[in-house]
């Protein structure tokens, strides 16, 4: 036994109170010895040598007791400590070990958690019935060996994650940190370390990786552009679709502000939308996003739909934006609109054809008058005293008649031209009056009067005036036809009624025919089904299509008294 400074200090109890107690007891013990010896007086002689011997024996006993007590104290502490260490080791989520760095790493010591970790008892490992290397996963053994050997050569600790196969055949992931330890006998190399089960963490990691891979795949294969930006609007990521859409490669665009992708006059709108509270909303509230115009690298603009969401991120808030290119959709909408107008135009031409007689008559009247007025003028000019007053009269009237003819032609032209079918603000009263003029002649010929009931303060509507006129003309002519079929027995007035409120304007055509019978009502709006001998049967189906395109519905009902009412609503111009 050799004492180093360190070792002496370890012998002395750390706590001063305990130490003091031991000293006192030792002294008392020593004193007790002296007292005993004093009582046995005959041994103590006045001879001072014996007395000194007795004293030395007493001192020796004191020191002996002292050492004894210290030893007992220390032993107790050691036992207690060992106990605590044991408990600690048992409660570790893993094992502490000590093994030799030979093949398969035979264990010398393994702490209690062993069974839980690998399904083998510590005794089995320590007694080397089972070897660690044997139940390390075959694919991992080499890597483990290399890692450990490297560490051994460098004198550094090693850290490694690898798989083991438990006694039950389960694959588990473990994390190990260990170090090479000097051996006592100088022959073998020992390893000491800590191994813990990280299967759960590994599973979570894998799941996270898979989730990330999935998200990445989704983003990469999406047709829509997906862009993430940080709080200040700097672009962080841009998926393939967005790269294609805008014509940038990621490096060109990262770090730039989102507005570089937006057409100038839409910057404000995009910023507002992104800063708006709406993108905080729960996913189910159906945030409608916004429609703006984007700008590609080549400066070319195209319409897009943008939705954005805030995203929690460890380094602050991020925003994800989904961008849908609307160019195709717009093109299709345009095509549809044009097709619809083409059809409506054809129907209008057909209607005009049917109305030709009436129109010809309407133009003939002013023409007749014009020619008679001009002849009159010529006659007034004859003779010695031309009648200038009458001449003036005639010319004025002639002029009016030519305007009248012109107006008829203009109305016909409006109806017959094919136009862009764009919506505009329209005054209902004017619109209805125009239709009235168009239908007037036919009404006249059928001995029917058209009554206009336009309520005051009807707001302006937003519509395609020519198409709406077409619908009204169609309804009027149908109504008049119905009344003629009933031989006007129920009256000869057809009413064109316009009413408005804060949301919409309702226009109705009320006739006094015989109403719509059930058998007719089934096919009423079907194309190519007509109750007329010479009808193409498209009027109502096209009218309905036109009203639908305006966001309304063409409906009808049979009146209480007689005849039917056809009506629809148009949106107010905002």
């Amino acid at each position: 036994m050799y004492f180093t400074k360190q070792k002496i200090s370890t012998l002395v109890p750390e706590q001063n109170a305990h130490h003091f107690l031991i000293i006192i007891i030792s002294l008392l013990a020593g004193s007790a010895v002296i007292a005993v010896m004093k009582s046995v007086k005959h041994i103590i002689t006045p001879d001072s040598v014996v007395g000194i011997l007795a004293l030395m024996a007493a001192i020796f006993m004191t020191i002996l007791f002292y050492t004894l007590f210290i030893a007992i104290y220390k032993l107790r502490k050691l036992l207690f400590s060992a106990n605590r260490l044991d408990t600690l080791l048992k409660n570790l989520p893993g094992i502490v070990y000590r093994c030799t760095n030979r093949e398969n790493w035979p264990m010398e010591y393994v702490s209690e958690g062993c069974y839980e970790l690998c399904g083998y008892h510590s005794q089995d490992l320590v007694q080397q019935r089972v070897l660690w290397g044997k139940f390390t996963h075959p694919d991992e053994v080499e890597r483990l060996k290399n890692t450990i050997d490297d560490a051994a050569n460098n004198g550094n600790p090693f850290e490694i994650e690898y798989r083991i196969v438990t006694a039950l055949g389960e694959e588990r992931w473990v994390w190990e940190r260990g170090r090479v330890v000097d051996s006592v006998n100088g022959k073998d190399i020992y390893l000491e370390g800590f191994i813990t089960d990280i299967t759960d963490r590994k599973k979570a990691e894998t799941a996270a990786l898979e989730s990330e891979a999935y998200a990445k795949a989704v983003v990469d294969t999406a047709i829509e552009g997906v862009i993430t930006i940080d709080n200040s609007g700097s672009i962080e990521t841009i998926n393939f679709a967005a790269q294609e859409m805008f014509g940038y490669i990621p490096d060109e665009i990262k770090g730039k502000n989102l507005t570089i992708l937006v057409a100038e006059n839409y910057h404000q709108q995009v910023n507002d939308y992104i800063n708006n509270n709406s993108i905080n909303a729960e996913l189910n509230t159906g945030d409608a996003g916004c429609e703006v115009v984007a700008r590609g690298k080549d400066g070319f603009s195209f319409p897009v739909h943008l939705t954005a969401r805030k995203m929690e991120h460890h380094s602050g808030e991020k925003i994800v934006g989904i961008i849908r290119d609307l160019s195709m959709q717009r093109a299709v909408e345009k095509e549809l609109r044009e097709q619809r107008e083409l059809l409506a135009h054809t129907a209008r031409l057909n209607t005009l054809g049917e109305m030709a007689t009436g129109i010809a008559h309407e133009i003939n009247q002013p023409l007749t008058a014009i020619s008679m007025y001009s002849q009159s003028c010529l006659r007034f000019l004859r003779g010695v005293n031309p009648n200038y007053n009458r001449l003036k009269d005639a010319l004025e009237k002639l002029s009016i008649q030519s305007h009248r003819a012109g107006a008829v032609l203009e109305r016909v032209q409006n109806l017959s031209k094919q136009h862009d079918s764009l919506r505009e603000e329209v005054n209902c009263s004017d619109l209805v009056t125009e239709v009235y003029k168009l239908a007037e002649v036919e009404a006249h010929m059928r001995h029917i009067t058209i009554a206009l009931e336009i309520s005051a303060d009807v707001p302006m509507v937003f519509c395609d005036p020519i198409q709406i006129q077409q619908v009204l003309l169609n309804l009027l002519r149908n109504g008049m036809e119905a009344m003629c079929n009933a031989k006007c027995l129920n009256g000869n007035q057809i009413i064109l009624c316009v009413e408005g409120n804060s949301d919409a304007v309702r226009i109705s055509v009320i006739d006094s025919g015989n109403g719509v019978t059930e058998s007719v009502s089934e096919k009423l709006f079907q194309p190519f089904s007509s109750t007329k001998d010479t009808g193409m049967g498209l009027g109502l189906s096209i009218s309905r299509a036109i009203i639908n395109a305006h966001g309304g519905e063409l409906k009808y009902f049979n009146n209480d008294k007689n005849g039917a009412t056809f009506y629809f609503a148009l949106p107010i111009s905002t």
């Binding site: 007689t357 009159s376 006659r379 006249h444």
Partner: protein
């Protein structure tokens, strides 16, 4: 033939056509009066007014053809010129069948209109003359005695005096006396004229 009391009546529901026609006739020196509907015209016309009628065939309310019918019932003598539009040909045919004088299609040629109007007016005047003549003759016939009338009828149908004497049971000489009386009263000189009168008074005036 007096024409200065003749008036052209214009009935058309279109104001411009009415007015311009009126002005044209006026410029040609023809008196005229306008009506906006058949009913309005009927309410103000009595058969005493002379002239002719320019009538739009297609009108709301009482139509041109209906007006024609009404005038016939009233036994009015006013000749009618119908104005028709395109496609009114069947109506025009019917109108002619019912006794219209003429019809014109729109757009109207002014010279044509004036000419036909004048034609109608002179026709009407001629008609009136004929009527007047017949009145006169009928008045004269009314002055014949019964016996004279019998003789007149037989003579005008070409019977010989002998036959007539036998028919009536009187002498031939008596027949001759009656015959000369008839010719004196009817103010004719030849047998042929007698025959003409007979025929004319039995045919309706056209």
């Amino acid at each position: 033939m007096d024409t200065f009391d003749q008036k052209v009546f214009i009935v058309d529901d279109d104001e411009a056509v009415r007015d311009s026609m009126s002005m044209l006739l006026e410029s040609a020196g023809l008196h005229n009066q306008c009506y906006s509907s058949a009913t309005e015209f009927l309410n103000s016309y009595d058969n005493s007014q002379h002239g002719c009628l320019i009538l739009d065939i297609r009108m709301p309310g009482l139509s041109g053809l209906e007006l024609q019918e009404q005038l016939k019932q009233r036994k009015a003598l006013l000749p009618i010129i119908f104005i028709t539009g395109h496609g009114d040909v069947p109506m025009a045919v019917e109108a002619m069948r019912q006794g219209a004088l003429d019809f014109m299609r729109k757009p109207i040629n002014e010279d044509d209109l004036l000419q036909r109007t004048r034609c109608a007016l002179s026709y009407e005047a001629g008609l009136r003359d004929k009527i007047q003549d017949r009145e006169n003759v009928l008045d004269k016939i009314a002055l014949l005695t019964a016996r004279e009338k019998q003789v007149f009828d037989r003579v005008a149908t070409g019977k010989a005096n002998k036959e007539i004497a036998f028919d009536l049971g009187i002498s031939e000489r008596t027949v001759e006396v009656h015959r000369s009386q008839v010719m004196k009263k009817l103010e004719v000189r030849a047998l042929a004229e007698l025959v003409r009168i007979k025929i004319e008074t039995e045919i309706p005036i056209r």
